[in-house]
Structure formats: structure tokens, C-alpha cells
């Protein structure tokens, strides 16, 4: 990834169009996958597996979904936490009512959420920008209200509190943090690959064209409404699967408050900090946000000895807000662009000219 391309010229366009064009990149990715699938499960303890890695992956997936909509297609959503809730409750209902296989439940959760996103996206033809953001905000409140008020969604329990049932995939009981981490990792890897494919083809280009200049996009033949709807649907699908994973592989006991507006904003923050319109940025942003509180508490603990929990959580918000402002103003393409620039510099180093 930070290697040089010395003489690596692609002989065919197909080769030039691979996701990882350089051999070094491919090696690095292979190493990363081995570390994620083999090394991490072997060496990490339960706390790290669950509270750090699994959470990181789930947030990455949700941020990725939001990034498809906001970063690629240019449509803001403040309702993505609620869409995660739709996925969580959909998967729960599939599991307890229909007792369908786990993976089916996850995909079904994605599809149900995609349908919900589709419905809330219908105004997007007529309105954009601020007013669309308000529509998605109303989706957030409406969906929260729905799950709190109607116990049907939580199979009878009050206030939408649910306990996810045990998972079993073809005889593999997904019980331990390690199992859940691996399941999450598998799902996220596949979906990230599909997202990358979508964004590097015609659909991704059409989305970005709409984002950058919708009039020109239309004149080049992009029909705005279907493509925006598709972006909402796909984005919600990702949010839904992420929500299902959040419920089944991380939370276990779920309450509607897990999906409140603050989470929508955090997701948006991840996308902005990581990099709008990049797949990798979604991961960087999620990693950053998951690690930030840990990093802050370690730093502060080094200076103070007594309990500072209030101060800590406030500090986290301050740093979070500051970073968002920083990235919006200074580097709208986020960490991913910083990474890219560093790479470019290293590529030419030590002879920049």
C-alpha cells in the first residue's frame, strides 16, 4: 500500500481495473485478511474481540452504508441509526417467529430495511439538502417511536426490549465473542467487497455524478430518481445488516435507545472523519471513533488518578466535534485522503520531482 509501482504496468485494462492494482497492495490485503481471520481470533481476549473488534466491524459496516448514500450519492441521512434498528428488529422477528437460518435472517433484515429506506427516500425526488435531512430525521423519530410503542415488534415485551436468541449456522453454534467476531468479520468482508464493486462501476459513477452536479448527470443520461432511490435502498440494506449484527453479535440484550439519534450522528461523524466517498474511509472512521474513548481515557489516566468519568465522556464529545469541524474545513475527504497523500509522497520519496 505504501510501496512503489516500479515498472508495474498493467498489460490489460482488466488488470489495470483491479481493486488492488499493485502486487504489494494485494500482498498487504492478503496479510490483513490473514491477521483479521486468523491472528486476531487467536491472540485477542474476549474484551478486545467483542468490545473493540466486533464493534469496530459493525460500525464500519453501518458507516459504509451511510457513506454509499452520503459520500457517494450526496444525500444526507440523519436516520441511519433508526435503519439499524429496523434491521435489528427484523432479524429478531425472523429468528423468533419464523426460526429461519441465521444468514437468511441477516439478509432478510437487510432487505426489510432497504424497503424502509426506499419508502423514506420517496420525497428525495422533490426535495434535497436541508429538507431531505429533515425527512430522514423524522424517519429516525418515527421508527424509534414505532418500536417503543408497539410490542408486536419485540414479540410482546414492553418498550421494545429484546434478547436475541442463540445462533447456529450449519451446526456451528455462534456463542463466544470469538464466534461472533468471526461471523461479523465474514459478513462485513463480503459486503465491503460488494460495495467496492458497486462504487467502481456504472452505478457508483452515476451516484457520484448526482453528488457532484445533478444537472450534468441527468444530461449525461442518469435518471436521478431511480438512482437516488437505489442509493437509499442499498445504504439502508447495509444499515439493516449492521443493525442485525449489532443486536445479535454485540449487544445481545437490545433496547431501542441503542439506536437513538446520537448514533446517527456518530455514524455521520465516522463517515466525515474517515472520508466521504471512500470505502476505506468508512473503516478508518469507525476505527477512529471506536478507539477514541479508549485512547482518551488512557491519556487522561496518565495525568489524573481519580474518577473522571463525567469529564471523560465530555472530553470525548469535544474531541469528536472538533475533529468533525477540522475535517469538514481542512480535509473533506478525511483520513482516507490523508492516507492517500502520504502514500503518494512515499511513492515519490526521496525524489519528489
Amino acid at each position: 500500500m505504501i510501496f512503489r509501482e516500479n515498472g508495474q504496468y498493467a498489460a490489460t485494462y482488466a488488470k489495470d481495473m483491479r481493486i488492488f492494482r499493485l502486487r504489494e497492495d494485494r500482498v498487504a490485503v492478503a496479510v490483513l485478511l490473514v491477521v483479521a481471520f486468523v491472528v486476531v481470533p487467536l491472540v485477542a481476549n474476549d474484551y478486545w474481540l467483542s468490545s473493540i473488534f466486533t464493534l469496530f466491524l459493525i460500525f464500519s459496516l453501518a458507516a459504509l452504508g451511510l457513506n454509499l448514500l452520503t459520500g457517494y450519492c450526496g444525500q444526507l441521512s440523519l436516520g441511519h441509526a433508526a435503519f439499524m434498528a429496523v434491521g435489528a428488529y427484523a432479524a429478531f422477528n425472523f429468528a423468533v417467529r419464523l426460526e429461519t437460518p441465521v444468514l437468511f435472517n441477516f439478509i432478510g433484515a437487510g432487505l426489510v430495511t432497504a424497503a424502509a429506506g426506499f419508502v423514506f427516500a420517496l420525497p428525495s425526488l422533490r426535495i434535497k439538502g436541508f429538507y431531505l435531512a429533515v425527512t430522514t430525521l423524522s424517519a429516525q423519530f418515527f421508527i424509534e417511536w414505532l418500536f417503543v410503542s408497539f410490542s408486536w415488534f419485540s414479540a410482546g415485551s414492553m418498550m421494545g426490549a429484546i434478547d436475541t436468541p442463540p445462533m447456529r449456522i450449519l451446526g456451528w453454534a455462534v456463542e463466544t465473542p470469538r464466534d461472533k467476531y468471526l461471523l461479523t468479520l465474514g459478513v462485513v468482508t463480503v459486503l465491503a467487497l460488494l460495495a467496492k464493486n458497486l462504487t467502481r462501476g456504472e452505478i457508483g459513477r452515476s451516484w457520484m455524478a448526482i453528488r457532484d452536479l445533478d444537472v450534468a448527470a441527468e444530461i449525461m443520461g442518469v435518471r436521478l430518481f431511480p438512482y437516488k432511490l437505489l442509493a437509499f435502498a442499498v445504504s439502508s440494506f447495509y444499515a439493516g445488516v449492521a443493525g442485525a449484527l449489532y443486536a445479535f453479535c454485540y449487544l445481545g440484550s437490545v433496547e431501542v435507545t441503542a439506536f437513538e439519534l446520537a448514533l446517527s450522528f456518530r455514524l455521520l461523524g465516522m463517515v466525515i472523519i474517515g472520508g466521504l466517498g471512500t470505502i476505506m474511509g468508512s473503516f478508518l472512521g469507525a476505527g477512529f471513533i471506536v478507539l477514541l474513548p479508549i485512547f482518551i481515557s488512557i491519556t487522561v489516566a496518565a495525568f489524573a488518578t481519580r474518577g473522571l468519568t463525567d469529564f471523560l465522556s465530555n472530553l470525548e464529545l469535544i474531541v469528536f466535534g472538533g475533529l468533525i469541524i477540522f475535517f469538514l474545513i481542512v480535509e473533506p475527504y478525511g483520513l482516507a485522503r490523508l492516507w492517500h497523500t502520504t502514500k503518494e509522497k512515499l511513492r515519490l520519496w526521496p525524489f519528489p520531482y
Binding site: R211, A216, M220
Partner: protein
């Protein structure tokens, strides 16, 4: 033209071009467009003939850009008809116009700023890609095949416009002159039957203008595209256009060869502004 047999009687004015009159690719008939009380186009009729370079000139605010927007379907005229290859298409939406093979560049650069040169040009290939969502998500089989095919086509345009070096640069970071060139490339990528250029040389230096003129002439002569272009630089217009239409205050005040236009008293008056409003 193959389908000129289907074309109804030519409705344009008798041509002043001696001899071979080419069939009209696009005909605008009595187009009227107003914004509130402001008349942007006042019963404008004109033909764009197959294979020609048509210049559209006129003072600021004459309605030139509005005319292109009407052709593109961005604005819907209150009155009048638009025929393309003899077929009425007055109320087409922009994407339908694109599907018919009309491509366009914008007065103030209408590129997709966050995308690379390559992606902008590939975006111009939109109407050639028909693979479905699932194949695209897998980037496999027909999806991969058509992506490669589009890439090959786009690389030809990159070579034609000599923009190899900026292939992977986000176009927002390019200098203005290059952006204009990339935008031409995006329009060319659509292999348009009709290419509309809104002030392709505005803000360019002499050398860039010469390059651009050459590309436009090549697109016309070698690729055979029909072109309608708006331009303020009279030298360029007189040089490269086969015919010229002059708009003033939303009305067509003259039409003819560059020589005829140069000596037309109405045109001279419009440009020198001798008449009081």
C-alpha cells in the same frame, strides 16, 4: 441520412448555402420560452443540419444557453416543437434526450469535480452500459466485460485529447483549460449524434483556444459529429463554423454563412449596440 425519407418537408428557411443542403438533424420550430415576465426565447426557429458545425452567437443574455437547455430538456418551452431526425421530441426529459445521442458541455464547466478524469469520461459512456445491479455488485462476467469495453473506448478519447497524464487526477484540482478539455472528452465519450458546446473556449489563452478548435474540427471531420457551439470569440466562430445563427434579446436576427453574418447590418447593430432598448 438514412431516415431523411421519413422527414416531412423541410420547415427551415431556404438555405443560403449554395448547392448541397444537408438534411436537418434537429429542427426547432417557433420555440418560445419565458421566465415569469422575461422572454428568454422569442419564436426561435432553426435547423441543425447533419454533419455541420453551427455557431450560435449573440450578446450576453441573448438566450443562447437557454436554447441549449431547451434542446437538452432542462427547460421546457411554453410553445414550439423540437424534432430530432424528423421525430417530435418536444417534451423529452434530459435523460431521454441523452439516450437519443445528444451530449453537451457547459458554460461554466459542468464536470463531476470529485471524480477522476477517467471516471468523468466513463460517466459519459452511461448510455452504453446496461448490466444489472447484481452483476455490477459482483463486477463479474458481462459487467466486467462491458467495463473493459468502455475503458478501451475512453482511452481512445484520452489519446485523442492528449490527456493521458491526468487520467487519474480528480478533475476539481485541474487548471481551467484542462477541465474544459476533459469536459469535451466526457461529451465525446457519449459518441453523440449531436454535440452541444456552450462557450468551449471561454477563459482560455490563445494556445488553448487553438488546441480546442483543432479538437472540435477533428470531432466534426474525423468522427463525423454534428456540432452546435456557442462562442463569443468571433475569430474562432468565423473560422470553424459552417453556418452561424445570431440571437439578440431572445430572437433570431440572422442566419447564414460566416461571410453573410459578418456583413449583416442587423448583426453589426446588435453587437455595436447602436439601437436603444
Amino acid at each position: 441520412m438514412a431516415n431523411s425519407t421519413a422527414t416531412t418537408a423541410q420547415s427551415g428557411p431556404p438555405s443560403s448555402v449554395a448547392g448541397n443542403v444537408k438534411p436537418a438533424l434537429m429542427q426547432l420550430e417557433e420555440i418560445e420560452l419565458s421566465f415569469g415576465g422575461l422572454t428568454a426565447l422569442n419564436r426561435v426557429s432553426l435547423d441543425i443540419r447533419s454533419g455541420e458545425i453551427l455557431g450560435i452567437i449573440g450578446p450576453n443574455g441573448a438566450g443562447k444557453t437557454s436554447l441549449l437547455n431547451v434542446i437538452n430538456g432542462v427547460y421546457r418551452p411554453q410553445k414550439g416543437r423540437i424534432l430530432f431526425q424528423g421525430q417530435d421530441r418536444t417534451n423529452y426529459r434530459p435523460h431521454q434526450v441523452a439516450a437519443q445521442g445528444v451530449a453537451r458541455t457547459f458554460q461554466n464547466v459542468g464536470l463531476f469535480k470529485g471524480m477522476t478524469t477517467l471516471d468523468n469520461l466513463l460517466a459519459g459512456r452511461k448510455s452504453f452500459i446496461h448490466t444489472n445491479f447484481f452483476l455490477q455488485a459482483l463486477y463479474w462476467g458481462p459487467a466486467l466485460k462491458t467495463e473493459v469495453a468502455q475503458r478501451e473506448k475512453v482511452e481512445q478519447i484520452i489519446d485523442f485529447l492528449e490527456i493521458q497524464a491526468i487520467r487519474n487526477t480528480p478533475v476539481g484540482t485541474l487548471p481551467y483549460g484542462l477541465q474544459k478539455r476533459v469536459e469535451l472528452g466526457r461529451a465525446l465519450a457519449a459518441e453523440p449524434k449531436l454535440l452541444l458546446l456552450d462557450e468551449p473556449m471561454a477563459g482560455m489563452n490563445l494556445e488553448e483556444k487553438e488546441d480546442m478548435s483543432r479538437f472540435i474540427l477533428d470531432a466534426n471531420e474525423e468522427l463525423g459529429y454534428t456540432i452546435a457551439l456557442i462562442e463569443h470569440d468571433m475569430g474562432v466562430v468565423m473560422d470553424i463554423c459552417d453556418r452561424i445563427v445570431v440571437l439578440d434579446y431572445g430572437s433570431k436576427i440572422a442566419e447564414g454563412t460566416p461571410d453573410e453574418i459578418r456583413n449583416n447590418p442587423d448583426v453589426i447593430r446588435a453587437y455595436l449596440g447602436t439601437d436603444e432598448n
